[in-house]
């Protein structure tokens, strides 16, 4: 059993901070028997301030801006929740959106934690983790030049149909041309200048789209665009190791 506890440390200067202390202990069965794939039960408690928070579980290597593998039920007024996880390597992120929605971007005023990596081993029943969730206070993005030095990645600008930079979109990077599965990489949300930078682990041929909403195919009203040169299929962007392929500009249009 994995036990999670969220505690509220109070308010810090300038920023409201809520500390999630996710308590879990690792208990390994002593009999040496193995039950592969047997899920561990995850339970815990969240402070009153974080009632209705959700805990998102991703597998190692997942894009944490994409759909989660498991999402907890909203934490109760006493902060308790329960999850079942099979053995594996995971990332946990706590989020609480003011809108009450379980998906979509985390906006200014929402709570979010940094991802915390953990592992559930065979037979493991309890884990102790801690997460700090802060209120998002700004959409400001900073891409210092140093971030791209010696990096392998893709950079460019997202603009609208009139050529104006678009704020608040993310660039999704796929390694397959159908762009149908989970993106391999996702950029931070663009700032006011529409610029983005996506580091990638290795050189290769990638396919890009930009959109303002997550999940599923683009819907009417969404802003969506992909990188192509006027072809029916998306055009591949070649990235060389140790270089940033720049000026990969994407125009987003409203989907009608």
């Amino acid at each position: 059993m994995i036990r999670w506890t969220f505690k509220d440390p109070g308010v810090r200067a300038g920023t409201r901070v809520l500390i999630f202390a996710i308590a879990a202990a690792l208990l390994v069965p002593g009999c040496g028997s193995h039950q592969p794939s047997r899920p561990a039960t995850v339970t815990g408690t969240v402070t009153v301030s974080l009632a209705d928070a959700l805990v998102y579980i991703y597998q190692e290597g997942d894009d944490i801006f994409g759909p989660a593998r498991v999402i907890s039920e909203p934490t109760a007024t006493d902060g308790s929740f329960s999850l079942s996880l099979k053995p594996g390597k995971y990332l946990a992120v706590a989020r609480k959106r003011v809108s009450g929605e379980s998906a979509g971007p985390v906006l200014i005023g929402d709570y979010r934690s940094e991802p915390v990596a953990f592992e559930v081993s065979q037979g493991q029943e309890k884990v102790v983790l801690s997460m700090t969730a802060v209120i998002k206070v700004s959409n400001e993005k900073a891409f210092p030049a140093s971030a791209q030095e010696n990096a392998t990645g893709i950079a460019g600008r997202v603009s609208d149909a009139d050529g104006n930079p678009v704020e608040g979109t993310r660039v999704h990077v796929y390694d397959h041309i159908q762009m149908s599965e989970r993106p391999k990489y996702v950029s931070e949300r663009t700032g006011a200048d529409g610029k983005y930078f996506v580091p990638v682990k290795r050189g290769g041929t990638y396919y890009l789209s930009a959109r303002d909403r997550f999940g599923g195919p683009p819907q009417i009203g969404d802003l969506f665009g992909r990188y192509d040169e006027g072809t029916v299929d998306p055009s591949g962007v070649v990235v060389r190791k140790g270089e940033v392929t720049g000026d990969v500009d994407i125009t987003v249009h409203k989907v009608w």
């Binding site: 149909a161 390694d175 397959h176 009417i220 009203g221 040169e229 060389r240 009608w256």
Partner: protein
């Protein structure tokens, strides 16, 4: 008061002239009954910054169908580019033949998001628009060029004839590249002899198109392109030779496994796998012999 509420109030005031509290749902209801004034107001809402209101109006106009076309065609004359874009899209999805002349006219209005008109013409399949779309392939507006390419491709092989002359216009690399895209997407075999001599910045696009067409006449040109000084050309050639599926390319692609550029080696391995039916490894950035990952899932 939040911004969404403020914008909603402003829209309602604009729609009502401050004299009534007619909301979107009322407008939609009236428009469904054929109320001309309500229909025209819904078209105005298409340009609203209120996303939900604009979407509700759009969906309603589409649902109304043919009855909403006169309102939408009025919207094509709007000074609001967002309204023009939405009306173009709606008319295109309806296949409105009556809107074709107005949509063609929009292709020359850079401030009215002409890409949407090009896209709509493709959806409608308006063959009378072909000369205008071909002309749009030379536009400085990249979005319009791209939309014109897709529209011509969507309209089918009959559009290739007027596009072919663009392939010989090496002095205008922008329109030549757009033309190459159309011919490649359409798989127009008549384009092969025009693609082979393409020089300059469009050599990579020409290699791509030769691969798309898949005509053996392009083989020697693609083999030569494998030795091009520019790696993007070599990369496209390596990819295109796989599409040609001609075993004569095997020795050259095997040699390309030693190309100094990783992505060229990777595409050579992919194409060799297509040609030989056997897994082929290449040397990646780290010096390891690896299989290319599958781009098609």
């Amino acid at each position: 008061m939040d911004l969404g509420l403020i914008s909603t109030v402003l829209i309602l005031l604009m729609l009502s002239g401050c004299s009534s509290n007619e909301d979107i749902s009322t407008l939609i209801e009236k428009a469904h009954k054929g109320d001309d004034r309500a229909g025209r107001k819904l078209v105005v809402v298409l340009g609203s910054a209120d996303r939900e209101a604009a979407l509700a109006a759009y969906r309603a106009l589409i649902e109304i169908g043919a009855g909403s076309q006169p309102w939408l065609m009025t919207g094509l004359k709007s000074g609001n580019a967002a309204v023009v874009e939405a009306c173009s899209a709606a008319l295109g999805s309806m296949g409105s033949k009556a809107s074709v002349p107005a949509l063609i006219e929009l292709l020359d209005h850079a401030d009215k998001r002409p890409y949407a008109a090009a896209q709509a013409l493709g959806e409608i399949g308006a063959m009378e628009a072909v000369p205008h779309l071909v002309r749009a392939l030379s536009s400085r507006d990249m979005e319009l060029r791209k939309a014109a390419v897709r529209a011509l491709v969507k309209m089918g092989p009959e559009t290739a004839g007027p596009v072919l002359p663009l392939l010989s216009r090496g002095e205008d690399e922008v329109s030549q590249r757009a033309g190459i895209r159309v011919i490649g997407e359409l798989g127009t075999r008549a384009g092969v002899e025009l693609l082979i001599p393409v020089t300059g910045a469009n050599r990579d696009a020409a290699a791509w198109a030769l691969g798309r067409i898949g005509d053996r006449r392009g083989l020697n040109a693609l083999l030569g392109a494998l030795s091009d000084e520019r790696w993007p050309v070599r990369r496209q050639a390596a990819q295109a030779l796989g599409s040609l599926e001609d075993p004569e390319a095997v020795p050259a692609l095997t040699a390309a496994l030693d190309d100094p550029e990783t992505v060229v080696r990777e595409w050579a391995a992919r194409s060799l796998e297509v040609l030989t039916g056997q897994p082929v490894l290449y040397v990646d950035d780290g010096g390891n012999q690896v299989s290319p990952y599958n781009l098609y899932r």
